[in-house]
């Protein structure tokens, strides 16, 4: 899916030091600041709203240790981990989505459509059923499931990356894995099945600091690798031969980035269950908001964090006291977004 429209050259002041000179793109800076503000506002909403209403001042008091015990419990024990988890998981999904989309050179190559997320769910379910779960087992299972699914999808594609076949293969793989997951849930005893099912919904409910720490460590390790690789991925977009001529180790870049993407999606899914469409929408929206052409790994991460937090806040307070899992919100909105994306692309005759 090549972009045929011509984009204006980036404008903005240039910062020069003795060794480096960087053009500061005004639009990117504005957009980044706006997204950070949005995240802060959403975070404040999530921290203050709820059965136990708090003012912003009380939240800050609790965070700095000068609030009452009840306030500290609500803020530090319940709301803060949930907000931080939404941010880190959203960021992991956004970065993972950007990696896969630029790797396949296909806007639709998101882990949800390719069946990776369902594969992660299968791996985690196997871990829950066989080893009895636990954060470590679920995480390892989810990563292994994602990896196996990625390898199978690659094998089914037989090297051909182009066009819609990728997504069609994903639809088929998705169906098989979903059936397998149903089968697993049915085969186990009731208590395990309930645990598995509650995990499968894709919710931030009842998660705590443990999950936050796992995902945060993964982000800290993997995002720099992804960001460092994104320039090489840009070059890969010109075709393997050109990239090789420009000195890119094509195979190694591809394998490394694939592994990074798999690990990010696997860890994120292990923490909260399969959350739909964040990985699909975040890189696309980031590209449009920032006005850039490249995969924009960091921008996609930022947008993914904002999207998932927004989905969770919406799900919690849209019809309170009923709480929707964040996954249903992102599925409904993300599905519509996909419809719009397809209609736009096809109308433009691409």
């Amino acid at each position: 899916m090549t972009t045929t429209e011509t984009r204006p050259l980036p404008t903005g002041p240039v910062v020069r030091t003795e060794r480096v000179s960087v053009r500061v793109r005004t639009r990117v800076v504005t957009a980044t600041v706006a997204l950070l503000v949005a995240a802060a506002v959403l975070g404040a909403l999530a921290m203050t709203l709820g059965d136990y209403q708090l003012s912003v001042g009380q939240v800050i008091g609790a965070l700095t240790g000068s609030g009452s015990r009840a306030q500290e419990y609500v803020v530090l024990g319940l709301r803060a981990p949930r907000v931080v988890l939404a941010l880190v998981v959203g960021a992991a999904l956004g970065v993972g989505g950007a990696v896969f989309q630029s790797l396949a050179r296909n806007n639709l190559a998101s882990p949800d459509l390719l069946g990776f997320t369902t594969g992660a769910a299968s791996g985690a379910l196997i871990a829950i059923v066989l080893v009895g779960g636990g954060p470590a087992g679920t995480t390892i299972g989810a990563i292994a499931g994602t990896l196996v699914t990625a390898v199978v999808v690659q094998a089914l594609l037989g090297g051909a990356v182009g066009g819609y076949r990728l997504v069609l293969v994903g639809i088929g793989v998705n169906a098989v894995l979903a059936a397998f997951n149903n089968f697993l849930i049915l085969r186990t005893d009731l208590s395990t099945a309930v645990a598995a099912q509650s995990w499968l919904v894709g919710t931030l409910n009842g998660r705590g600091w443990t999950q936050v720490v796992v995902v945060a460590i993964a982000l800290a390790v993997l995002v720099p690798i992804a960001a460092a690789g994104s320039r090489r991925l840009d070059l890969l977009g010109m075709g393997d031969d050109v990239a090789r001529g420009l000195g890119v180790a094509v195979e190694r870049t591809r394998v490394t980035t694939l592994l990074v993407g798999v690990a990010l999606v696997g860890v994120a899914t292990a923490a909260v269950g399969p959350v739909a469409f964040v990985a699909l929408a975040a890189p696309q929206l980031a590209r449009r908001i920032m006005g850039t052409t490249g995969p924009g790994v960091l921008a996609a991460g930022l947008l993914g964090a904002v999207l998932l937090l927004a989905g969770d806040v919406l799900g919690q307070h849209l019809a309170a006291p009923t709480q929707f899992p964040a996954g249903t919100m992102t599925a409904a909105v993300g599905g519509l977004y996909l419809v719009w994306l397809l209609a736009r692309e096809w109308r433009a005759g691409r």
């Binding site: 069609l168 293969v169 639809i171 088929g172 049915l186 929707f324 909105v333 419809v339 692309e345």
Partner: protein
């Protein structure tokens, strides 16, 4: 030359002699009868064939005749329902693939089952519908609306409704409907209670009257399919040619659409969304019959019934004492067929 030959081979399987086609159909029907008998015998309580036949012929000899009661009141309605739904979905798939000239067309892939589901959920939530007569109408309307929507979306732009585009459009629409359904169902406990019984895509726990109530819709749909076969053959040659042969293209299309909606809507109302039957069955049928719809339709009926009844029996056996839903088993069988078609060098129009 060779390229055109392979393409023609791919899109049109060889036509076999009439004897083979007719003989094969008889074999398929015999197999279907065997499957029906097996479905009456197999379960968590095995019943000998002789006892089954006695029960069918003479009814329960006494109220304590448990075997006869199980056969007549549990297994017979279920088997007949599976048979009817399988026949309906098989023909619906054949009609769909003929109408859209798309080898990937299937009520599940194109999102039509989700449309029917969403409409039924809306019916339960807004109008308090709890009976099957009520479900059927909502199901039909939902199926029709989503069918039109997906077709319009897929046909956007210059290159028209290619097979891959329709599948993608259906997936996107289906995904957002799924999100909406889960959100609604989670808010409203009574709706959830009704819906979770209905949605599993299984033949168990259905009202014994279910079959009687949807049967008129299915019969009309099947008669339409058989009557349209000749015209669809002409339509397969292209719109212009069909018109030159005296086919009223608009009317035939509308009638085919009506048939699809009646069959899918009726089947979905009776036992929830079952995917991939409509996709796999016509392909298997065409392997034997070639492209002639006058043969494809009856073959699809026989094979569709066979597939669903067998899937139900398998689902009862693999997870004793629990049961695997028939929709899960058909996905295991149907999704690989989908993958095989999607992997072809080019997904050709029929």
């Amino acid at each position: 030359m060779t390229a055109t030959a392979t393409r023609a081979e791919e899109s049109a399987p060889p036509t076999r002699p009439v004897g083979v086609r007719a003989g094969g159909l008889v074999v398929a029907l015999v197999l279907l009868a065997v499957a029906v008998v097996a479905s009456l015998m197999v379960g968590s309580r095995g019943i000998a064939p002789g006892v089954v036949l006695d029960a069918l012929r003479y009814g329960p000899t006494s109220p304590t005749d448990t075997d006869a009661v199980i056969v007549l009141e549990q297994r017979l309605p279920r088997t007949l329902l599976g048979l009817a739904v399988g026949v309906a979905l098989g023909v619906a798939g054949a009609l769909m693939q003929a109408l859209t000239r798309n080898p990937l067309a299937d009520p599940g892939v194109l999102g039509i089952n989700w449309g029917a589901s969403a409409a039924i959920v809306a019916g339960i939530l807004l109008f308090g519908i709890t009976t099957l007569d009520g479900y059927v109408w909502f199901s039909l309307v939902g199926a029709a609306v989503v069918a039109v929507l997906v077709y319009l979306l897929g046909a956007t732009g210059r290159s028209g409704a290619t097979p891959a585009r329709l599948a993608l459009a259906g997936t996107a629409v289906g995904a957002s409907l799924q999100g909406v359904i889960y959100a609604v169902v989670l808010v409203d406990a009574t709706t959830f209670d009704q819906y979770r019984v209905w949605r599993v895509g299984s033949l168990t726990g259905r009202d014994p009257q279910a079959l009687v109530q949807v049967l008129p819709f299915l019969v009309v749909g099947i008669l339409l399919a058989l009557g349209l076969a000749r015209a669809l053959n002409a339509l397969a040659l292209g719109e212009e040619t069909a018109r030159a042969l005296g086919v009223r293209v608009g009317r035939i299309r509308a009638l085919t659409g009506l048939g699809i909606v009646l069959l899918c809507g009726g089947a979905t109302a009776a036992c929830g969304p079952i995917a991939f039957v409509g996709l796999a069955v016509p392909h298997l049928a065409r392997v034997v019959t070639g492209p002639d719809h006058r043969w494809v339709m009856p073959w699809s009926m026989a094979l569709g019934g066979l597939l669903v009844v067998c899937a139900d029996v398998v689902g009862r056996v693999v997870a004793i004492p629990a049961e695997l839903e028939v929709g899960v088993v058909t996905a295991f069988v149907g999704a690989p067929v989908f993958l095989a078609i999607a992997r072809r060098r080019r997904v050709v129009a029929l």
